[in-house]
Amino acid sequence: MTVADDRPVDKGGEIRVIPLRHYGRWLSVAVVLVLLASLVKSLITNPRYHWGIVWDFFTHKSILEGLARTLTLTVIAMTIAIFLGTILAVMRSSQNRFLSICAQGYIWFFRGTPLLVQLIFWFNLSALYPDLSFGIPFGPEFFTFNANRVITVYVAALLGLGLCESAYMCEIVRGGLNAVDPGQTQAAQALGMRKGLIFRRIVFPQAMRVIIPPTGNEVIGMLKTTALVSVIALPDLLYSAQLIYSQNFRTIPLLLVACIWYLIVTTILTIIQHFVERRFGRGTEIMSRKELRRKDSQAGNGPKAALLRGADDVGR
Protein backbone atom coordinates (compact mmCIF):
# COMPACT_ATOMS: atom_id res chain seq x y z
CA MET A 1 0.00 0.00 0.00
CA THR A 2 1.33 3.42 -0.85
CA VAL A 3 -0.46 5.44 1.82
CA ALA A 4 1.40 3.59 4.59
CA ASP A 5 4.35 6.01 4.29
CA ASP A 6 2.71 9.11 5.72
CA ARG A 7 1.09 7.40 8.71
CA PRO A 8 2.29 8.60 12.17
CA VAL A 9 4.70 5.81 12.98
CA ASP A 10 7.06 5.69 15.94
CA LYS A 11 10.45 4.08 15.95
CA GLY A 12 9.18 0.65 16.90
CA GLY A 13 7.03 0.67 13.79
CA GLU A 14 3.82 0.69 15.85
CA ILE A 15 1.12 3.34 15.67
CA ARG A 16 0.71 5.40 18.85
CA VAL A 17 -2.90 5.95 19.92
CA ILE A 18 -3.76 8.71 22.39
CA PRO A 19 -7.17 7.99 23.94
CA LEU A 20 -9.67 10.82 24.33
CA ARG A 21 -9.26 12.53 27.72
CA HIS A 22 -12.52 12.69 29.70
CA TYR A 23 -11.99 15.80 31.86
CA GLY A 24 -15.68 15.98 32.82
CA ARG A 25 -15.56 12.44 34.17
CA TRP A 26 -12.46 13.16 36.24
CA LEU A 27 -14.18 16.19 37.77
CA SER A 28 -17.26 14.10 38.64
CA VAL A 29 -15.08 11.47 40.27
CA ALA A 30 -13.46 14.16 42.39
CA VAL A 31 -16.82 15.56 43.51
CA VAL A 32 -18.17 12.11 44.40
CA LEU A 33 -14.99 11.25 46.30
CA VAL A 34 -15.31 14.39 48.42
CA LEU A 35 -18.94 13.60 49.23
CA LEU A 36 -18.10 9.98 50.09
CA ALA A 37 -15.23 11.06 52.34
CA SER A 38 -17.41 13.43 54.30
CA LEU A 39 -20.08 10.74 54.68
CA VAL A 40 -17.56 8.22 56.03
CA LYS A 41 -16.05 10.83 58.32
CA SER A 42 -19.41 11.67 59.86
CA LEU A 43 -20.30 7.99 60.28
CA ILE A 44 -17.10 7.48 62.26
CA THR A 45 -16.83 10.71 64.21
CA ASN A 46 -20.46 11.55 65.04
CA PRO A 47 -20.93 10.08 68.54
CA ARG A 48 -24.71 10.19 68.25
CA TYR A 49 -24.69 7.11 66.04
CA HIS A 50 -23.85 5.16 69.21
CA TRP A 51 -22.03 2.38 67.33
CA GLY A 52 -21.35 0.71 70.69
CA ILE A 53 -25.10 0.25 71.25
CA VAL A 54 -25.49 -0.96 67.66
CA TRP A 55 -23.00 -3.79 68.22
CA ASP A 56 -24.48 -4.58 71.66
CA PHE A 57 -27.91 -5.16 70.15
CA PHE A 58 -26.66 -6.62 66.86
CA THR A 59 -26.93 -10.19 68.12
CA HIS A 60 -29.56 -9.53 70.78
CA LYS A 61 -31.87 -12.53 71.25
CA SER A 62 -35.08 -10.82 70.15
CA ILE A 63 -33.35 -9.24 67.12
CA LEU A 64 -32.12 -12.66 65.99
CA GLU A 65 -35.58 -14.13 66.58
CA GLY A 66 -37.05 -11.32 64.52
CA LEU A 67 -34.49 -11.95 61.79
CA ALA A 68 -35.38 -15.64 61.75
CA ARG A 69 -39.06 -14.76 61.48
CA THR A 70 -38.40 -12.31 58.64
CA LEU A 71 -36.41 -14.94 56.77
CA THR A 72 -39.01 -17.68 57.24
CA LEU A 73 -41.81 -15.34 56.20
CA THR A 74 -39.84 -14.32 53.08
CA VAL A 75 -39.02 -17.88 52.09
CA ILE A 76 -42.50 -19.33 52.67
CA ALA A 77 -44.35 -16.36 51.17
CA MET A 78 -42.14 -16.42 48.06
CA THR A 79 -42.54 -20.19 47.73
CA ILE A 80 -46.33 -19.77 47.84
CA ALA A 81 -46.07 -16.88 45.38
CA ILE A 82 -43.85 -18.68 42.85
CA PHE A 83 -45.94 -21.84 42.98
CA LEU A 84 -49.31 -20.08 42.81
CA GLY A 85 -47.97 -17.52 40.34
CA THR A 86 -46.88 -20.27 37.93
CA ILE A 87 -50.32 -21.91 38.14
CA LEU A 88 -51.96 -18.52 37.58
CA ALA A 89 -49.67 -17.82 34.61
CA VAL A 90 -50.61 -21.12 33.01
CA MET A 91 -54.30 -20.40 33.68
CA ARG A 92 -53.95 -16.90 32.30
CA SER A 93 -52.45 -18.24 29.06
CA SER A 94 -55.01 -21.06 28.85
CA GLN A 95 -57.15 -21.32 25.74
CA ASN A 96 -60.12 -21.84 28.03
CA ARG A 97 -61.59 -18.35 28.42
CA PHE A 98 -63.10 -19.04 31.85
CA LEU A 99 -59.75 -20.05 33.38
CA SER A 100 -58.02 -17.08 31.79
CA ILE A 101 -60.61 -14.62 33.08
CA CYS A 102 -60.45 -16.12 36.59
CA ALA A 103 -56.68 -15.59 36.65
CA GLN A 104 -57.09 -12.04 35.37
CA GLY A 105 -59.67 -11.35 38.07
CA TYR A 106 -57.32 -12.65 40.74
CA ILE A 107 -54.50 -10.43 39.51
CA TRP A 108 -56.85 -7.46 39.25
CA PHE A 109 -57.99 -7.86 42.86
CA PHE A 110 -54.68 -8.61 44.56
CA ARG A 111 -52.70 -5.99 42.67
CA GLY A 112 -55.46 -3.46 43.06
CA THR A 113 -55.80 -3.44 46.85
CA PRO A 114 -53.12 -2.32 49.32
CA LEU A 115 -51.13 -5.17 50.90
CA LEU A 116 -51.56 -3.50 54.26
CA VAL A 117 -55.34 -3.81 53.95
CA GLN A 118 -55.04 -7.43 52.81
CA LEU A 119 -52.93 -8.30 55.86
CA ILE A 120 -55.41 -6.73 58.27
CA PHE A 121 -58.25 -8.40 56.39
CA TRP A 122 -56.75 -11.90 56.69
CA PHE A 123 -55.99 -11.26 60.36
CA ASN A 124 -59.64 -10.37 60.97
CA LEU A 125 -61.07 -13.11 58.78
CA SER A 126 -62.77 -14.73 61.74
CA ALA A 127 -65.01 -11.67 62.07
CA LEU A 128 -66.36 -12.48 58.59
CA TYR A 129 -66.26 -16.28 58.77
CA PRO A 130 -66.22 -17.52 62.39
CA ASP A 131 -66.13 -21.10 61.08
CA LEU A 132 -64.25 -22.24 57.99
CA SER A 133 -65.61 -25.36 56.38
CA PHE A 134 -64.57 -27.42 53.44
CA GLY A 135 -67.28 -28.94 51.30
CA ILE A 136 -69.55 -28.49 48.30
CA PRO A 137 -71.54 -25.21 48.13
CA PHE A 138 -75.15 -25.85 49.19
CA GLY A 139 -74.10 -29.48 49.69
CA PRO A 140 -72.42 -31.48 52.42
CA GLU A 141 -69.49 -30.13 54.43
CA PHE A 142 -66.55 -32.41 54.98
CA PHE A 143 -64.76 -30.70 57.84
CA THR A 144 -65.00 -27.44 59.71
CA PHE A 145 -62.40 -25.32 61.53
CA ASN A 146 -62.65 -22.53 63.99
CA ALA A 147 -61.26 -19.58 62.01
CA ASN A 148 -59.70 -17.98 65.07
CA ARG A 149 -57.66 -21.07 65.77
CA VAL A 150 -56.53 -21.73 62.20
CA ILE A 151 -55.79 -18.18 61.06
CA THR A 152 -53.06 -17.32 63.54
CA VAL A 153 -51.02 -14.15 63.11
CA TYR A 154 -48.44 -16.19 61.28
CA VAL A 155 -50.90 -17.78 58.86
CA ALA A 156 -52.55 -14.41 58.25
CA ALA A 157 -49.16 -12.89 57.44
CA LEU A 158 -48.28 -15.74 55.05
CA LEU A 159 -51.66 -15.58 53.34
CA GLY A 160 -51.47 -11.82 52.93
CA LEU A 161 -47.89 -11.74 51.65
CA GLY A 162 -48.07 -14.93 49.57
CA LEU A 163 -51.40 -14.34 47.84
CA CYS A 164 -50.61 -10.73 46.98
CA GLU A 165 -47.12 -11.56 45.71
CA SER A 166 -48.43 -14.42 43.57
CA ALA A 167 -50.36 -11.89 41.48
CA TYR A 168 -47.07 -10.14 40.66
CA MET A 169 -45.21 -13.41 40.18
CA CYS A 170 -47.91 -14.55 37.75
CA GLU A 171 -47.12 -11.67 35.44
CA ILE A 172 -43.38 -12.30 35.73
CA VAL A 173 -43.77 -16.00 34.94
CA ARG A 174 -46.14 -15.22 32.08
CA GLY A 175 -43.62 -12.80 30.60
CA GLY A 176 -40.98 -15.52 30.81
CA LEU A 177 -43.19 -18.12 29.16
CA ASN A 178 -44.11 -15.72 26.36
CA ALA A 179 -40.44 -15.01 25.74
CA VAL A 180 -39.82 -18.61 24.65
CA ASP A 181 -40.06 -19.03 20.89
CA PRO A 182 -43.23 -21.00 19.94
CA GLY A 183 -40.99 -23.01 17.59
CA GLN A 184 -39.56 -24.70 20.69
CA THR A 185 -42.97 -26.09 21.62
CA GLN A 186 -43.60 -27.18 18.04
CA ALA A 187 -40.26 -28.95 17.81
CA ALA A 188 -40.98 -30.74 21.08
CA GLN A 189 -44.49 -31.64 19.94
CA ALA A 190 -43.14 -33.01 16.69
CA LEU A 191 -40.88 -35.28 18.75
CA GLY A 192 -43.96 -36.73 20.42
CA MET A 193 -43.46 -34.96 23.76
CA ARG A 194 -46.57 -34.22 25.77
CA LYS A 195 -47.66 -30.92 27.28
CA GLY A 196 -46.43 -31.51 30.83
CA LEU A 197 -43.09 -32.77 29.62
CA ILE A 198 -42.67 -29.90 27.17
CA PHE A 199 -43.40 -27.40 29.92
CA ARG A 200 -41.02 -29.05 32.38
CA ARG A 201 -38.11 -29.87 30.10
CA ILE A 202 -38.25 -27.34 27.27
CA VAL A 203 -40.27 -24.21 27.94
CA PHE A 204 -39.79 -23.65 31.67
CA PRO A 205 -35.98 -23.97 31.74
CA GLN A 206 -35.77 -21.38 28.96
CA ALA A 207 -38.36 -19.13 30.57
CA MET A 208 -36.38 -19.25 33.83
CA ARG A 209 -33.65 -17.18 32.22
CA VAL A 210 -36.14 -14.33 31.81
CA ILE A 211 -37.98 -15.01 35.07
CA ILE A 212 -35.00 -15.02 37.45
CA PRO A 213 -33.84 -11.38 37.43
CA PRO A 214 -37.27 -9.89 38.25
CA THR A 215 -37.91 -12.71 40.72
CA GLY A 216 -34.67 -11.81 42.48
CA ASN A 217 -36.05 -8.29 42.70
CA GLU A 218 -39.29 -9.59 44.17
CA VAL A 219 -37.49 -11.73 46.78
CA ILE A 220 -35.45 -8.76 47.94
CA GLY A 221 -38.58 -6.62 47.89
CA MET A 222 -40.43 -9.25 49.90
CA LEU A 223 -37.66 -9.33 52.50
CA LYS A 224 -38.46 -5.73 53.32
CA THR A 225 -42.21 -5.91 52.69
CA THR A 226 -42.43 -8.45 55.50
CA ALA A 227 -41.90 -5.47 57.80
CA LEU A 228 -45.56 -4.66 57.16
CA VAL A 229 -46.61 -7.58 59.33
CA SER A 230 -45.95 -5.38 62.35
CA VAL A 231 -49.52 -4.10 61.82
CA ILE A 232 -50.81 -7.48 62.92
CA ALA A 233 -48.31 -7.50 65.80
CA LEU A 234 -45.98 -10.15 64.42
CA PRO A 235 -42.47 -9.34 65.67
CA ASP A 236 -40.31 -9.54 62.53
CA LEU A 237 -36.83 -8.00 62.36
CA LEU A 238 -37.95 -4.37 62.15
CA TYR A 239 -40.76 -4.73 64.70
CA SER A 240 -38.38 -6.44 67.16
CA ALA A 241 -36.04 -3.46 66.85
CA GLN A 242 -38.97 -1.09 67.34
CA LEU A 243 -40.09 -2.97 70.45
CA ILE A 244 -36.61 -2.50 71.96
CA TYR A 245 -36.28 1.20 71.18
CA SER A 246 -39.76 1.90 72.49
CA GLN A 247 -38.32 0.89 75.86
CA ASN A 248 -34.78 2.29 75.77
CA PHE A 249 -35.38 5.19 73.33
CA ARG A 250 -32.22 4.35 71.29
CA THR A 251 -34.17 4.75 68.07
CA ILE A 252 -31.34 5.39 65.58
CA PRO A 253 -28.92 2.67 66.76
CA LEU A 254 -31.67 0.03 66.70
CA LEU A 255 -32.84 1.08 63.26
CA LEU A 256 -29.20 0.75 62.17
CA VAL A 257 -29.12 -2.78 63.59
CA ALA A 258 -32.16 -3.70 61.50
CA CYS A 259 -30.75 -2.01 58.38
CA ILE A 260 -27.40 -3.76 58.63
CA TRP A 261 -29.15 -7.12 58.89
CA TYR A 262 -31.37 -6.30 55.91
CA LEU A 263 -28.26 -5.35 53.93
CA ILE A 264 -26.44 -8.55 54.87
CA VAL A 265 -29.38 -10.73 53.79
CA THR A 266 -29.82 -8.74 50.56
CA THR A 267 -26.14 -9.26 49.76
CA ILE A 268 -26.47 -13.01 50.27
CA LEU A 269 -29.61 -13.12 48.13
CA THR A 270 -27.86 -11.22 45.33
CA ILE A 271 -25.02 -13.74 45.34
CA ILE A 272 -27.49 -16.64 45.24
CA GLN A 273 -29.30 -14.98 42.32
CA HIS A 274 -26.02 -14.75 40.42
CA PHE A 275 -25.46 -18.49 40.69
CA VAL A 276 -29.04 -19.38 39.82
CA GLU A 277 -28.76 -17.19 36.72
CA ARG A 278 -25.61 -18.99 35.68
CA ARG A 279 -27.31 -22.34 36.14
CA PHE A 280 -30.17 -21.44 33.81
CA GLY A 281 -27.97 -19.50 31.39
CA ARG A 282 -26.53 -22.68 29.86
CA GLY A 283 -26.05 -22.32 26.13
CA THR A 284 -26.60 -18.55 26.21
CA GLU A 285 -24.51 -15.43 26.50
CA ILE A 286 -24.90 -15.45 30.29
CA MET A 287 -22.57 -18.41 30.32
CA SER A 288 -19.11 -17.02 30.78
CA ARG A 289 -16.71 -16.87 27.85
CA LYS A 290 -14.33 -19.16 29.69
CA GLU A 291 -16.91 -21.92 29.96
CA LEU A 292 -17.87 -21.57 26.32
CA ARG A 293 -14.25 -21.85 25.32
CA ARG A 294 -13.80 -24.93 27.47
CA LYS A 295 -16.82 -26.46 25.70
CA ASP A 296 -15.30 -25.44 22.38
CA SER A 297 -12.05 -27.19 22.99
CA GLN A 298 -14.01 -30.31 23.90
CA ALA A 299 -16.23 -30.00 20.87
CA GLY A 300 -13.59 -29.02 18.35
CA ASN A 301 -13.52 -25.55 16.86
CA GLY A 302 -16.55 -24.23 15.02
CA PRO A 303 -16.67 -20.94 13.16
CA LYS A 304 -18.80 -19.42 15.97
CA ALA A 305 -16.11 -20.35 18.46
CA ALA A 306 -13.53 -18.55 16.40
CA LEU A 307 -15.81 -15.52 16.27
CA LEU A 308 -16.19 -15.52 20.04
CA ARG A 309 -12.47 -15.71 20.51
CA GLY A 310 -12.04 -12.87 18.06
CA ALA A 311 -14.47 -10.72 20.03
CA ASP A 312 -12.60 -11.58 23.20
CA ASP A 313 -9.29 -10.52 21.70
CA VAL A 314 -10.72 -7.16 20.68
CA GLY A 315 -11.95 -6.68 24.23
CA ARG A 316 -8.49 -7.14 25.66
Partner: protein, 226 residues
Amino acid sequence: MRGQVAVLIGPSGSGKSTFLRCINHLEKIDRGRLCIDGEFVGYREHGTVLYELHSKEIAQRRAQIGMVFQHFNLFPHMTALGNVVEAPIHVRGLSKEHAEEEGRALLAKVGLGDKADAYPRQLSGGQQQRVAIARALAMHPKLMLFDEPTSALDPELVGEVLGVMRQLAADGMTMICVTHELGFAREVADNVTFMDEGVVVESGTPAEVLGSPREKRTQSFLSKVL
Protein backbone atom coordinates in the same frame (compact mmCIF):
# COMPACT_ATOMS: atom_id res chain seq x y z
CA MET B 1 -45.43 -44.11 -0.70
CA ARG B 2 -43.10 -45.99 1.58
CA GLY B 3 -39.42 -45.51 0.94
CA GLN B 4 -40.07 -42.70 -1.51
CA VAL B 5 -39.14 -39.05 -1.48
CA ALA B 6 -41.87 -36.55 -2.26
CA VAL B 7 -40.94 -32.92 -2.84
CA LEU B 8 -43.39 -30.04 -2.52
CA ILE B 9 -42.56 -26.87 -4.39
CA GLY B 10 -44.44 -23.64 -4.95
CA PRO B 11 -44.42 -19.91 -4.17
CA SER B 12 -44.59 -18.68 -0.55
CA GLY B 13 -48.04 -18.78 0.92
CA SER B 14 -49.10 -21.61 -1.34
CA GLY B 15 -49.82 -23.92 1.60
CA LYS B 16 -46.79 -26.21 1.38
CA SER B 17 -45.73 -25.77 5.00
CA THR B 18 -49.32 -25.81 6.22
CA PHE B 19 -49.83 -29.15 4.50
CA LEU B 20 -46.66 -30.48 6.11
CA ARG B 21 -47.78 -29.28 9.53
CA CYS B 22 -51.18 -30.92 9.04
CA ILE B 23 -49.45 -34.25 8.60
CA ASN B 24 -48.36 -34.29 12.22
CA HIS B 25 -51.33 -32.32 13.49
CA LEU B 26 -49.46 -29.12 14.36
CA GLU B 27 -52.23 -27.56 12.29
CA LYS B 28 -55.86 -28.71 12.36
CA ILE B 29 -57.53 -29.96 9.22
CA ASP B 30 -60.80 -28.28 8.19
CA ARG B 31 -61.77 -30.68 5.43
CA GLY B 32 -60.55 -33.86 3.79
CA ARG B 33 -58.73 -36.93 5.04
CA LEU B 34 -55.07 -37.42 5.83
CA CYS B 35 -53.82 -40.86 6.79
CA ILE B 36 -50.47 -42.39 7.57
CA ASP B 37 -50.37 -46.16 7.33
CA GLY B 38 -54.15 -46.07 7.20
CA GLU B 39 -54.47 -44.09 10.45
CA PHE B 40 -55.56 -40.49 10.88
CA VAL B 41 -52.94 -38.47 12.74
CA GLY B 42 -55.07 -36.40 15.06
CA TYR B 43 -58.41 -38.14 14.85
CA ARG B 44 -60.26 -41.42 15.37
CA GLU B 45 -62.96 -42.36 12.90
CA HIS B 46 -66.20 -43.75 14.23
CA GLY B 47 -68.95 -44.17 11.68
CA THR B 48 -69.11 -40.85 9.89
CA VAL B 49 -67.73 -38.80 12.77
CA LEU B 50 -64.11 -37.90 13.48
CA TYR B 51 -63.20 -37.55 17.14
CA GLU B 52 -60.17 -35.49 18.00
CA LEU B 53 -57.70 -37.71 19.80
CA HIS B 54 -56.47 -37.18 23.33
CA SER B 55 -53.11 -35.41 23.45
CA LYS B 56 -51.45 -38.63 24.63
CA GLU B 57 -52.49 -40.52 21.49
CA ILE B 58 -51.58 -37.60 19.24
CA ALA B 59 -48.14 -37.52 20.85
CA GLN B 60 -47.71 -41.24 20.23
CA ARG B 61 -48.47 -40.82 16.55
CA ARG B 62 -46.31 -37.73 16.23
CA ALA B 63 -43.42 -39.64 17.72
CA GLN B 64 -43.42 -41.80 14.59
CA ILE B 65 -43.07 -38.77 12.31
CA GLY B 66 -39.84 -36.82 12.32
CA MET B 67 -39.93 -33.13 11.50
CA VAL B 68 -37.16 -30.72 10.56
CA PHE B 69 -37.92 -27.01 10.68
CA GLN B 70 -36.74 -24.06 8.65
CA HIS B 71 -35.31 -22.36 11.75
CA PHE B 72 -33.91 -25.60 13.27
CA ASN B 73 -35.73 -25.03 16.59
CA LEU B 74 -32.98 -26.75 18.55
CA PHE B 75 -33.31 -26.54 22.32
CA PRO B 76 -30.73 -23.85 23.14
CA HIS B 77 -30.29 -24.89 26.77
CA MET B 78 -29.12 -28.37 25.85
CA THR B 79 -25.98 -29.60 24.10
CA ALA B 80 -26.20 -31.22 20.67
CA LEU B 81 -26.26 -34.63 22.31
CA GLY B 82 -28.81 -33.39 24.86
CA ASN B 83 -31.07 -32.33 22.01
CA VAL B 84 -30.79 -35.72 20.36
CA VAL B 85 -31.38 -37.84 23.47
CA GLU B 86 -34.16 -35.73 25.03
CA ALA B 87 -37.11 -37.42 23.32
CA PRO B 88 -35.68 -40.97 23.27
CA ILE B 89 -35.21 -40.79 27.05
CA HIS B 90 -38.50 -39.11 27.95
CA VAL B 91 -40.81 -40.37 25.21
CA ARG B 92 -39.40 -43.73 24.14
CA GLY B 93 -38.25 -44.45 27.67
CA LEU B 94 -34.69 -45.48 26.83
CA SER B 95 -32.03 -45.53 29.52
CA LYS B 96 -29.65 -42.57 29.49
CA GLU B 97 -26.66 -44.72 28.48
CA HIS B 98 -28.51 -46.45 25.70
CA ALA B 99 -29.92 -43.16 24.35
CA GLU B 100 -26.51 -41.45 24.47
CA GLU B 101 -24.89 -44.34 22.63
CA GLU B 102 -27.55 -44.10 19.93
CA GLY B 103 -27.35 -40.31 19.94
CA ARG B 104 -23.59 -40.28 19.40
CA ALA B 105 -23.99 -42.73 16.53
CA LEU B 106 -26.62 -40.48 14.93
CA LEU B 107 -24.45 -37.38 15.36
CA ALA B 108 -21.59 -39.26 13.73
CA LYS B 109 -23.92 -40.23 10.91
CA VAL B 110 -24.67 -36.56 10.16
CA GLY B 111 -20.96 -35.80 10.40
CA LEU B 112 -20.98 -34.15 13.83
CA GLY B 113 -19.50 -36.87 15.99
CA ASP B 114 -17.09 -34.35 17.52
CA LYS B 115 -19.75 -31.75 18.38
CA ALA B 116 -21.78 -33.75 20.88
CA ASP B 117 -20.98 -31.38 23.76
CA ALA B 118 -21.39 -28.11 21.86
CA TYR B 119 -24.38 -25.90 22.54
CA PRO B 120 -26.49 -24.92 19.50
CA ARG B 121 -25.24 -21.33 19.51
CA GLN B 122 -21.69 -22.59 19.13
CA LEU B 123 -22.63 -24.34 15.88
CA SER B 124 -23.05 -22.95 12.39
CA GLY B 125 -26.49 -22.98 10.77
CA GLY B 126 -25.68 -26.04 8.70
CA GLN B 127 -24.38 -27.89 11.73
CA GLN B 128 -27.47 -26.91 13.74
CA GLN B 129 -29.75 -28.22 11.02
CA ARG B 130 -27.82 -31.49 10.91
CA VAL B 131 -28.25 -31.83 14.68
CA ALA B 132 -31.97 -31.20 14.15
CA ILE B 133 -32.07 -34.02 11.60
CA ALA B 134 -30.24 -36.34 14.02
CA ARG B 135 -32.74 -35.33 16.73
CA ALA B 136 -35.67 -36.29 14.51
CA LEU B 137 -34.03 -39.57 13.48
CA ALA B 138 -33.48 -40.52 17.12
CA MET B 139 -37.19 -41.32 17.38
CA HIS B 140 -36.87 -43.94 14.59
CA PRO B 141 -39.58 -42.24 12.54
CA LYS B 142 -41.28 -44.04 9.69
CA LEU B 143 -41.70 -40.74 7.89
CA MET B 144 -39.56 -37.59 7.85
CA LEU B 145 -40.98 -34.15 7.11
CA PHE B 146 -38.63 -31.37 6.01
CA ASP B 147 -40.02 -27.83 6.13
CA GLU B 148 -37.67 -25.72 3.99
CA PRO B 149 -34.63 -27.13 5.81
CA THR B 150 -32.12 -25.03 3.86
CA SER B 151 -33.97 -21.72 3.50
CA ALA B 152 -32.37 -20.12 6.55
CA LEU B 153 -28.84 -21.17 5.65
CA ASP B 154 -25.95 -19.41 3.97
CA PRO B 155 -25.60 -20.70 0.40
CA GLU B 156 -22.29 -22.30 1.35
CA LEU B 157 -23.90 -24.37 4.10
CA VAL B 158 -26.85 -25.64 2.06
CA GLY B 159 -24.76 -28.43 0.56
CA GLU B 160 -23.91 -30.15 3.84
CA VAL B 161 -27.59 -30.37 4.85
CA LEU B 162 -28.69 -31.59 1.42
CA GLY B 163 -25.88 -34.16 1.58
CA VAL B 164 -27.34 -35.62 4.79
CA MET B 165 -30.82 -35.64 3.24
CA ARG B 166 -29.51 -37.38 0.13
CA GLN B 167 -27.91 -40.02 2.32
CA LEU B 168 -31.21 -40.52 4.16
CA ALA B 169 -33.09 -40.93 0.89
CA ALA B 170 -30.51 -43.44 -0.28
CA ASP B 171 -31.02 -45.38 2.97
CA GLY B 172 -34.67 -45.78 2.02
CA MET B 173 -36.26 -43.26 4.41
CA THR B 174 -39.75 -42.09 3.47
CA MET B 175 -39.52 -38.32 3.15
CA ILE B 176 -41.70 -35.35 2.32
CA CYS B 177 -39.70 -32.18 1.70
CA VAL B 178 -40.82 -28.64 1.17
CA THR B 179 -37.89 -26.99 -0.54
CA HIS B 180 -36.77 -24.43 -3.07
CA GLU B 181 -33.74 -26.53 -4.01
CA LEU B 182 -34.91 -27.70 -7.42
CA GLY B 183 -31.60 -29.39 -8.13
CA PHE B 184 -32.12 -31.55 -5.06
CA ALA B 185 -35.70 -32.28 -6.15
CA ARG B 186 -34.62 -33.35 -9.60
CA GLU B 187 -31.92 -35.61 -8.26
CA VAL B 188 -33.54 -37.25 -5.25
CA ALA B 189 -37.33 -36.98 -5.56
CA ASP B 190 -39.54 -39.78 -6.74
CA ASN B 191 -42.43 -37.40 -6.95
CA VAL B 192 -42.64 -33.62 -7.26
CA THR B 193 -45.82 -31.70 -6.45
CA PHE B 194 -46.32 -28.09 -7.38
CA MET B 195 -48.74 -26.16 -5.15
CA ASP B 196 -50.23 -22.68 -5.47
CA GLU B 197 -52.84 -20.88 -3.38
CA GLY B 198 -53.55 -23.93 -1.27
CA VAL B 199 -54.19 -26.36 -4.13
CA VAL B 200 -52.09 -28.92 -5.95
CA VAL B 201 -51.48 -27.61 -9.46
CA GLU B 202 -49.65 -30.61 -10.77
CA SER B 203 -47.82 -33.63 -9.57
CA GLY B 204 -45.60 -36.24 -11.17
CA THR B 205 -42.03 -37.40 -11.59
CA PRO B 206 -39.34 -34.70 -11.44
CA ALA B 207 -38.81 -35.08 -15.19
CA GLU B 208 -42.50 -34.39 -15.85
CA VAL B 209 -43.09 -31.52 -13.41
CA LEU B 210 -39.69 -29.82 -13.56
CA GLY B 211 -38.72 -30.86 -17.08
CA SER B 212 -41.86 -30.36 -19.08
CA PRO B 213 -44.60 -28.88 -16.90
CA ARG B 214 -48.12 -29.04 -18.34
CA GLU B 215 -49.72 -26.21 -16.36
CA LYS B 216 -49.12 -22.53 -17.17
CA ARG B 217 -48.72 -21.66 -13.48
CA THR B 218 -45.99 -24.23 -13.02
CA GLN B 219 -44.20 -23.01 -16.14
CA SER B 220 -44.19 -19.39 -15.01
CA PHE B 221 -43.02 -20.35 -11.49
CA LEU B 222 -40.19 -22.48 -12.81
CA SER B 223 -39.10 -19.87 -15.33
CA LYS B 224 -38.60 -17.42 -12.46
CA VAL B 225 -36.82 -19.84 -10.15
CA LEU B 226 -34.43 -21.44 -12.60
